[in-house]
């Protein structure tokens, strides 16, 4: 019974933890401009993140090692460093975007300019990392993030024509007035939002922190295989809401305040309250994860002590990196750069950086020297190879498409 509850809570946490500022912005934007015609990308992204998270979780449970520890061993000091720098730039941009997202969400409730909240939010993010036990932290924000389920409720209340929705989703076509490059540019953005690399750094390092062993793998798989797809459905519901409300009105989504509007229209003030709580929880939770991920990755690459499971003074350099990353992230947002724009760039660059960590994990997951009996199955490898190809194409196409479409204009 207790085990069942644990699984249940784990799945809920994974759903609530799936959505972050990138998913919110990308899905809302895409829903308003492309309707359901890009919903398939979320599906492809969810399968990808399930595959990647399962592999890295298994590697972490069997070897007790974090991602960048292995990346450096497999790629060597030079290629590993390049990899680390690229991945950390993306994670840092994401961290900044999440910090901005929390502040913007609080602005929605208070109508006080978000910039005033940024220092406070940064402090709180650091403080939670400093004081709150790992498991409580993950669970609290994951569960609060479930408030975003109100998007699904709103979508249902807005009363879509289910038949035409299914038709649109299953017969994707570029809508009138949009070019093919723009369509593919947003496909990549949506894909990058669903498959952000920090999720994997956090997930595998978290597995090491919580001391997973092979026995925990079953629970891990259930969490991933149920939680992420349901989180993906939530993403599609966000796109669905903006599709129904904004597309007919010719509205393009440029602000977080707009993302909440369909829910207000469909579910009123209570719905809006849920949305704001969900925004705060999802972005705050992701800020914690990205902040920790910078520390995890750098410490693992350099062979330092890391993690929340030891006293901070015993992992002083790790905590110093986390602190510096949060301060710099807050400073980036305080330059008054638009956090939504930072988000859009962070998800596209995520797509660019994905193969850098995916490939070494795929190789290590096949290495009996590390994995023993727990190497990839043939099915996992078949899927893994297909995604390696896909990620490579996406990574190579992202920047040219960004330039060609002037970042999706």
């Amino acid at each position: 019974m207790k085990r069942l509850l644990q699984v249940f809570l784990g799945v809920l946490t994974a759903i609530g933890g799936f959505v972050d500022i990138g998913d919110l912005v990308a899905n809302a934007l895409v829903g308003a401009r492309f309707g359901m015609s890009l919903a398939w990308v979320v599906l492809v992204g969810v399968v990808g993140i399930c595959l990647f998270a399962e592999m890295s979780g298994r590697v972490a449970a069997v070897t007790g090692r974090g991602t960048f520890d292995l990346v450096r061993e497999r790629l060597g000091v030079r290629a590993g460093l390049l990899n680390l720098v690229a991945s950390m730039l993306v994670t840092f941009l994401t961290l900044a975007a999440e910090l901005g997202g929390v502040a913007l969400a609080i602005e929605l409730a208070t109508s006080v300019n978000y910039l005033l909240f940024v220092p406070l939010v940064a402090f709180l993010v650091w403080f939670v990392i400093w004081r709150m036990p790992f498991e409580h932290m993950e669970r609290a924000f994951g569960l609060l993030g479930l408030a975003l389920v109100v998007f699904a409720v709103a979508f249902w209340k807005l009363g879509p024509d289910w038949g035409s929705m299914l038709h649109q989703a299953s017969h994707p076509a570029v809508p009138d007035g949009e070019g093919h490059p723009t369509y593919w540019y947003y496909a990549i953005a949506l894909f990058g939002a669903a498959m952000t690399p920090y999720e994997v750094f956090f997930f595998s390092s978290g597995a090491v922190e919580e001391g997973w062993t092979k026995k925990d793998l079953m629970i891990e798989r259930i969490n991933v295989y149920l939680g992420f797809p349901l989180g993906g459905l939530l993403s599609i519901a966000i796109a669905g809401c903006t599709w129904l409300v904004f597309m007919p009105a010719g509205v393009e989504v440029d602000h977080l305040d707009q993302v909440a509007l369909p829910v207000a229209l469909a579910a009123g003030k209570v719905g809006l309250a849920f949305v704001i709580v969900g925004f705060v929880a999802a972005t705050f939770g992701a800020a914690l994860e990205t902040g920790l991920s910078t520390g995890y990755s750098i410490a693992q690459y350099l062979g330092w002590s890391w993690g929340k499971s030891v006293a901070p003074v015993r992992a002083a350099r790790f905590h110093a990196v986390v602190l510096v990353a949060i301060v710099l992230g807050a400073m980036l947002i305080l330059t008054t750069v638009d956090p939504i724009m930072v988000t859009e760039y962070s998800i596209v660059f995520s797509a660019v950086a994905l193969p850098l960590t995916y490939f070494p994990i795929l190789v290590v997951a096949n290495d009996p020297g590390y994995m023993g009996e727990a190497v990839n199955s043939r099915l996992t490898n078949a899927l893994g190879t297909a995604y390696l190809g896909l990620l490579t194409v996406v990574s190579l196409a992202a920047i040219p498409l960004m330039v060609a479409t002037k970042a999706g204009q």
């Binding site: 929605l108 409730a109 109508s111 579910a267 719905g271 809006l272």
Partner: protein
């Protein structure tokens, strides 16, 4: 690192504003500006709709409408800074600029009303904006 990111962002966005050389370029720019402001106005009007049905509180509406107004006025000032290449373009400029001013003024009025807490008056005060929205849409389609 931060400077590098800022530089990259600046490079990537620098391509947004460029001088227009021909009438066709100008017309496209005008059409896009009309479309962008129509999007802001439509957002605000949806907010007004939510207020009319008592589905959104004042602080939220104030943020929503203020950011729509900010976007609209930034589009307007960008459009105004573009050099019209001909007399024909001059006429287009006059027509659209007038409309954009009406949109920005209308949005400002809504913002003031929300911040005074007079949510029940929003619907009435939004009336002129509806007409502006229709004309903006017409122009944006005409100048595609």
């Amino acid at each position: 690192m931060r400077r590098g990111v800022a530089l990259l962002l600046a490079l990537l966005t620098a391509s947004c504003v460029s001088p227009s050389r021909t009438d066709r370029d100008y017309e496209l720019k005008a059409g896009n500006s009309a479309k962008a402001v129509a999007s802001s106005v439509a957002t605000a009007l949806l907010g007004v709709e939510a207020a009319r049905r008592h589905r959104a509180p004042g602080p939220y509406l104030s943020v929503l409408i203020a950011s729509a107004e900010e976007d609209a006025s930034s589009v307007q000032s960008q459009f105004d800074s573009v050099q019209p290449p001909s007399a024909h373009a001059d006429a287009q400029r006059a027509e659209l600029d007038d409309l954009l001013s009406q949109a920005v003024d209308g949005l400002a009025l809504l913002r003031i009303t929300v911040r005074r807490g007079e949510l029940d008056q929003l619907d009435t005060k939004a009336r002129p904006l509806r007409a502006v929205l229709v004309r903006l849409r017409t122009l944006s389609e005409e100048w595609q």
